[in-house]
């Protein structure tokens, strides 16, 4: 990979790594005796390791000048491998956490207690798995739909590796007790700053590639990837404004407090779902689903309505997390209203995806990769309907604080996000590594059924436990007092917690099969084939360049 860099790029890469190492060293010194020192050491190590890796091939011959006639896919390849590694790790932790609710003594000291490793699970799957998959596929899709190579070869690596350093700092931080406690924004101030730098670089790469495009129109996927990058930056910066105790302390105090903090946090939290877990993955879907199905997108106009609807409505919906709380009622009502309206653009996208498959349903039957994407679109439709439903105030009075929320989130995360990602990865891996197909189609099939059955078991278990919980908490007996103690409801949850952990285990097994299959595909030697169509300026020798139509 280093051999692909020119000498100047190698020098730049060394300078950047050196800067990371120096920053790490500074925090290592001023943060002695505080967890921030541990993270300084990690950053120092990461910088030194990168310098070492570059240095090993520093004197290797420069790449040939015709490299600009090809797409630059090395960062995408690394991103997909990292993504599969994170998913196995994240799912394993998730299932462990689930078993802890069955048997609370499944811990090994402070670092592994429920409260510390639950965010390890959420961060690993959302940011580790999802984020790496988004970065990898966005680089891939953006180059193809623009017919332009990435503008340079260092910045994409900085984004990918810097982002993974952020994930590692986040995950190790929770285990040693570093957290802001803001859900899905747990990493502390210094990790947040790192992410801002990485993210701005990501945006610049995106805009620079678009500026070099040879297609006059920007393809739908890129609208979504761009919304994902821009809005996540906005949310991240505002929600994480905080004042550190000192430069040598990991701990910081949020700039906001109480009700304003709650609203900011759920404006962030709900739109992390919208722009990280929805917009980005819709970008993935709008490219890989039509490509795999060999059909153009059903409706260009639906995709426009859906895109702007999602971008506008979602930002109002966060307050539905705060029904009946101390948040002023007018904000709650706005949140509920916009959550209901959100159903329109959401179903426009889900419908657009499913209607694109018209004429290709035979492929859905035979091809588990396409079936992953089809099921993802179905779950996307179901989950967004459920989300709008749960945002209704009277429904929320029952569902909030219960496992129903957990079930809803996992219907989205397992059924939509993970399924569309696995489908896209199975489509993308053979294209990236120039293989005929995945190592084993039967393993893709097996993964599909593990994933689907795991998701269904998980979601049904949580629907049951959530609704039972909600009902038990509000049931009165004849004398007008509460019928059940909290502990009664806890006992009632036990069988569902076992079922949930079992469903999660099935999903984890599927993920492991997927990781093995990806690994074996990469390890199988490539046939000497000429991918003439997969070039920025394709040689149109008979075959048509495979591009989704608009």
């Amino acid at each position: 990979m280093v051999k692909q860099l020119t000498l100047i790029e190698r020098q730049n890469a060394i300078l950047i790594s050196l800067a990371v190492a120096v920053c790490g060293f500074v925090f290592l010194i001023i943060g002695r005796g505080d967890p921030i020192g541990v993270h300084g050491f990690l950053a120092f190590l990461a910088g030194v390791l990168t310098i070492f890796l570059i240095g090993r091939d520093y004197y290797a011959p420069s790449p040939s000048d015709d490299r600009s006639a090809h797409y630059y896919d090395d960062p995408s390849k690394a991103g997909i491998v990292l993504s599969m590694a994170w998913v196995v790790f994240g799912l394993a932790i998730g299932d462990w956490v689930a078993w802890q609710l069955v048997n609370p003594d499944l811990t090994f000291g402070a670092w592994s207690s429920f409260g510390r490793i639950r965010p390890v699970h959420t961060t690993s799957v959302i940011f580790g798995f999802g984020g790496n998959a988004l970065i990898a596929t966005s680089f891939y899709v953006m180059q193809r739909t623009s017919r332009a190579r990435l503008p340079d070869q260092v910045a994409p690596w900085f984004v990918l590796l810097g982002y993974n350093l952020f994930c590692i700092i986040a995950v190790t931080g929770y285990m040693i007790g570093v957290t802001q406690s803001k859900e899905y924004a747990e990493p502390e101030w210094y990790a947040d700053i790192l992410l801002v730098i990485v993210w701005v670089t990501y945006l610049v790469i995106y805009l620079r590639t678009l500026a070099r495009r040879k297609e006059p129109h920007i393809y739908v996927s890129n609208w979504y990837y761009m919304a994902f990058i821009l809005v996540v930056a906005m949310l991240h910066i505002v929600n994480n404004l905080a004042f550190p105790v000192s430069l040598g302390h990991a701990k910081s105090y949020s700039l906001f407090s109480g009700v304003q903090d709650a609203m900011t946090e759920w404006w962030y939290g709900h739109n992390a779902v919208a722009f990280f877990l929805t917009a980005g993955f819709l970008g993935m879907m709008y490219y890989f689903l039509p490509m795999r199905a060999g059909r153009p997108i059903f409706s260009y106009r639906l995709s426009i309505i859906s895109f702007w609807g999602i971008t506008f409505f979602y930002m109002w919906a966060g307050s539905h997390h705060l029904h009946y709380t101390a948040l002023p009622q007018w904000v709650q009502t706005l949140g509920m209203t916009f959550s209901l309206m959100l159903l329109i653009p959401s179903w426009a996208s889900a419908g657009n995806a499913l209607l694109t498959l018209n004429g290709a349903w035979d492929k859905v039957r035979d091809d588990a990769t396409l079936r992953f994407m089809m099921v993802a679109a179905v779950f996307y439709g179901l989950t967004t309907f459920e989300g709008s439903f749960m945002a209704i105030r009277s429904v929320n009075s029952l569902s909030h604080y219960t496992d129903w929320t957990v079930g809803h989130v996992h219907a989205g995360a397992l059924g939509w996000v993970a399924m569309i990602t696995f489908g896209s990865i199975y489509a993308c891996v053979p294209w990236l590594w120039k293989r005929e197909a995945m190592y084993s189609a039967r393993l893709v099939e097996a993964h599909f059924w593990f994933a689907l059955s795991g998701t269904v078991i998980y979601v049904f278990a949580m629907w049951n436990s959530g609704i039972i919980q909600g009902l038990m908490w509000r049931t009165y007996n004849e004398s007008g007092t509460l019928a059940y103690s909290f502990v009664d409801s806890l006992i009632a949850m036990h069988p569902y917690y076992i079922a949930r952990a079992f469903g999660g285990l099935l999903f984890l097994i599927g993920g492991c099969i997927g990781a093995y299959n990806v690994w074996m595909t990469i390890a199988t030697p490539a046939p000497a084939s000429d991918y003439a169509s997969d070039l920025p300026a394709p040689r149109r020798a008979g075959g048509i360049a495979a591009q989704p139509a608009e």
């Binding site: 609710l101 406690s181 805009l207 129109h217 919304a227 979602y314 916009f338």
Partner: protein, 246 residues
């Protein structure tokens, strides 16, 4: 159609598209969040509202560190069953000094907004040390290291200073004496105890929370924090007297 015609042109301009996204995505937050800072009725006034003592703040930070908020909410909603189960519904003013707020989103365990003084210190210590010693079916992890770990107090002045920077009115006197006050609150017979009531008020709970007056442990801090939950102000008790709930 003109809208789609406009879009046909817009999607040829990457900067135009980017600006469009920023504008369209900003509106929701501007309408819903910005007014919360300017409309005065958003947060009730509570003149009797007191600050967290350094010990309680340290306990709160441990509560955050251990991820307690993942399973325990601190927000009683305006619903009859919640008021009957947990007490008067939570007011915005009660978390006025909470940077960040810990309202939570999930009740794997019960709400803690008004847990203060509902159980004895001994119960909390036993429960935190191993929940199944007091609640056999509990699924809460055991926090047995709290009793064994000395509380770090040397940097408490820095913590109070940072809190003041984000808007909590700690005085210079409070900041300077933060470490001593933490010790004094958990050791009521010590000479440091007097300063605590002087600075934080007579209502401050002064006890050897973990049962060992000689040592200042993380258990002291967590229990001190739990015992003050819902007791920083009496503001929430008043609407109930007029027939609160639903």
């Amino acid at each position: 159609m003109s809208i789609f015609g406009f879009h046909y042109r817009l999607e040829r301009k990457s900067i135009g598209l980017a600006l469009g996204i920023i504008v369209v995505a900003s509106i929701g937050g501007l309408f819903e969040i910005a007014p919360l800072f300017t409309i005065h009725q958003t947060v009730e006034s509570a003149p009797d509202m007191r600050l967290y003592t350094p010990l309680e703040l340290a306990g709160r930070n441990i509560y955050i560190r251990e991820g307690c908020y993942a399973c325990h909410s601190q927000m009683i909603r305006t619903l009859r069953d919640e008021v009957d189960r947990y007490g008067p519904y939570s007011l915005a003013v009660e978390s006025k000094y909470d940077h960040p707020m810990l309202w939570g989103s999930k009740r794997t365990g019960p709400d803690l907004a008004r847990i203060g003084e509902k159980y004895s210190d001994q119960w909390h210590v036993a429960h935190l040390n191993n929940p199944r010693d007091v609640v056999p079916v509990s699924v809460m992890p055991a926090y047995d290291w709290l009793l064994a770990t000395e509380l770090r107090t040397d940097d408490l002045p820095l913590h109070l200073k940072a809190q003041r920077a984000v808007g909590v009115p700690y005085t210079d006197d409070m900041i300077a004496n933060a470490a001593l006050d933490a010790y004094g609150q958990a050791n009521p017979d010590s000479p440091q105890a007097d300063g605590v009531t002087k600075r934080y008020g007579e209502a401050t709970t002064m006890r050897a929370f973990d049962g060992q007056p000689a040592r200042l442990t993380e258990m002291d801090a967590v229990v001190a924090y739990l015992q003050v939950l819902g007791r920083l102000t009496d503001a929430a008790q008043k609407p109930l007297a007029q027939g609160g709930g639903q």
